[in-house]
Amino acid sequence: MKLTGEERDWLEGGAGPALKRAMEIVVALGTIYGAPTLIPVESVQISGVSYRNIGDAGLRFLRQWADEGARVRVPTTLNPTAMDMVRWEAQGFSADFADKQRQVVDAFAQMGVGEGTPLPTCTPYLIGNRPAQGTHVAWAESSAVVFANSVLGARTNREGGPGAIAAALTGRTGAYGLHRAENRLATLCVEVRARLDTISDYSALGAIVGRRAGQAVPYFADLPLDAVGDPLVEEKLKALGAAMAATGAVGLFHVADVTPEARAAAMLAPAYERLVIDDVAPGYASLSDDVDRVDLVWIGCPHASLREIALVAEALRDRRVQIPLWVTCARPVRAIAVEQGLVSVIESAGGRVFSDACMGIAPLHDLGFSAVATPSAKGAFYLRNLAHVAARFAPLEACIAIAAGDR
């Protein structure tokens, strides 16, 4: 790989051990994927934040890197923690877990993540880290990657935890994969004949397409989306992408006449496969376990937008939940929802709005939960495969009905 003089100096340790290690990672990843050079990135999103996932080894490594002098060179945002960093006691976390989770965030703060005040979220694009079309970034968090590439038209590969940190410390990534225009053409053309109404219908569609797509770039030829007239278009694209990124390895998709690259050009590769979807019901069924009793309803995977919180508040007005109903979102989004009275509507009904947290990476059994309903395919996927609880994937209305004990 061709490196600049400065990059070579960093790699050889001229700027200290922290940057040397970061350059080793960036260069190794570029080598593995055949990048001819490195390119500058404008922002980074870091994953691998939940103490439950990374454990003491991950925490020790992050502290070592921070203590070696690791400092981010470009604006960097942070993935969710397992718990709300303020309201963790109300969620049932132990003081010991909370202390460890705080140490993880502190290590990232020491590195300069979030300008020293990380606001953990999987939706950095809702709190100011919103790259312009055509800009190169290095994001981890598969749902954020697919949103950045597809909805914003920025360019990023699906980075992993330490790889994203290395990109933040060097401000560089390898020029391979989705950074290159030729790899952004669609190789799977999806025709949808199913009726799509709610945000979760798009999530169910994504669950089906993701499994078929693998690493392919899907092109949706005929989605009933209005890029201008539908106030929930971004939420629907967010749900679709997150589901495909969780059930498959999708990093980019296009929607004819809707997503920026597909509005500007024909994004289908010369050779592509075809997929026709007649019904999204199998998408719901594929991520629903047969459980008698649900003991938690979780909304906010990926983290809820203000509009999604408003939908929950509207559905809960003058109702009362019988089992815990938790909404998760970014801290600044919660603050706005508080200002607008949405949080008080939800909490008056017995629900809770938590920031920072992700239930898919939380120790749910320790919190006393074993079966969780969610309107998110990605949520259900990680509840099953990472949190190891039973999941029921259903539309928002059905999840609210479960919480209210309607059935």
Partner: protein, 145 residues
């Protein structure tokens, strides 16, 4: 062939360093998260060809990594406990093991014909160079350069 001429291969450098030790070879990929116990170095994946064997101090030879990206931290955990492999040789490297080797200071090289290495062989890794001395007991000892 224990006293015979060693075979030398030039691979692709992933993490520079020098190490020598006994080869532990797996024909199957290794996933460190859930596949190797980070506190003992013992392979725990059920049905894995290395199940029950310890990777500590070995020249660990396998086709490629697999599984969760958190596996990088399992290698780091092994290194801090002094239980890491002495070096890693892959047929084709992927990011989980590569990043794990870098953050744990484990010499690593890929694009080496791993079928030419057998468990018990003496192996020296020196940057991108891999030198293999066949163990006494191993098959015909035929080696190709």
């Amino acid at each position: 062939m224990g006293n015979g001429e060693p075979a030398t291969f030039i691979g692709r450098l992933i993490k520079t360093g020098t190490a020598e030790g006994e080869a532990l070879v797996s024909a199957e990929p290794i996933g460190f998260l859930g596949g190797v116990d980070g506190s003992t170095g013992v392979v725990t994946e059920r049905g894995h060809p290395l199940e029950g064997l310890c990777v500590a101090g070995k020249i660990l030879v396998f086709p490629t990594g697999k599984g969760s990206t958190v596996g990088s931290y399992v290698l780091y955990q092994l290194a801090t406990a002094g239980l890491a492999p002495a070096a890693i040789i892959n047929a084709e490297s992927e990011p989980i093991v590569a990043v794990g080797a870098i953050i744990s200071d484990i010499p690593m090289v890929d694009r080496v014909p791993i079928e030419a290495i057998r468990t018990g062989d003496r192996v020296r890794v020196e940057g991108d160079r891999v030198v293999v001395w066949a163990a006494e007991s191993s098959g015909s000892g035929v080696r190709e350069e």
